[in-house]
Symmetry: C2
Subunit: 135 residues, 2 copies
């Protein structure tokens, strides 16, 4: 793989926008530093970075792919309120039990939680408390 300004820029953005940006989001930010950049190039580079193991792809059902600079294994939470994807670490014991429960021919495991993220849960709690106080 040769060096290219565009690929390094894409890599930088995945690191900077650490909250699992989509290709489009990476494109919009990277464009400000490299106005000629095209979306196709962003997609091509994300693919080679994933293949090279420098970036992980995070796929959420029914959503555009997202990209993650964290390489170590972890699960993700898709928030049904705000649509954000956040990390959700699994304890070592749970993780080991999970992997041990399957035969050795399994190489990887994609785990996505669906629910409400901490932020939205906090907001909802505050709103319901304010409502209580008003009555």
């Amino acid at each position: 793989m040769r060096y290219s300004k565009q690929r390094e820029l894409v890599m930088q953005q995945v690191e900077a926008l650490s909250d699992h940006p989509t290709a489009e989001e990476i494109y919009q930010h990277a464009r400000q530093e490299c106005p000629g950049l095209s979306l196709g190039t962003v997609y091509r580079n994300l693919n080679s970075l994933v293949e090279a193991g420098r970036v992980r792809r995070v796929s959420v059902p029914g959503q555009p792919d997202r990209f993650d600079h964290t390489l170590s294994w972890h699960s993700h939470l898709y928030c049904t309120r705000c649509g954000q994807v956040s990390d959700l670490a699994l304890g070592d014991d749970v993780m080991r039990r999970l992997m041990d429960s399957q035969p050795e021919r399994i190489t990887d495991c994609v785990l996505t939680w669906i629910g409400v993220c901490e932020n939205c849960a906090k907001k909802e709690k505050a709103r319901s408390e304010a409502l209580q106080a008003a009555l």
Copy 2:
């Protein structure tokens, strides 16, 4: 929801093609019993069946959605050799530990294993043994 011949046919096919068919596969099979059927109708009915809780959607990263007549929770294995999706049950203890590891605001969990299915593993074993014997 009203009765419709097309929707019942789609439901039947999800049950008959029990190995997680795609919308296209369901369409191809259903068309033989109802030649006028359109793909759009298959998609619309799959969506209402999922919403009604009669069918589960199985999304595999980078693949078209699949549909499952098994309603109880289980994980799926995507085979990197043949592309098939098969069920992979988790022991109750592992499952409970998994759910217990997360706060109560989580409502669902999508777990997809990536690896080689039993069938392909068997085939590969047979092939490598035949190769050994030939030497």
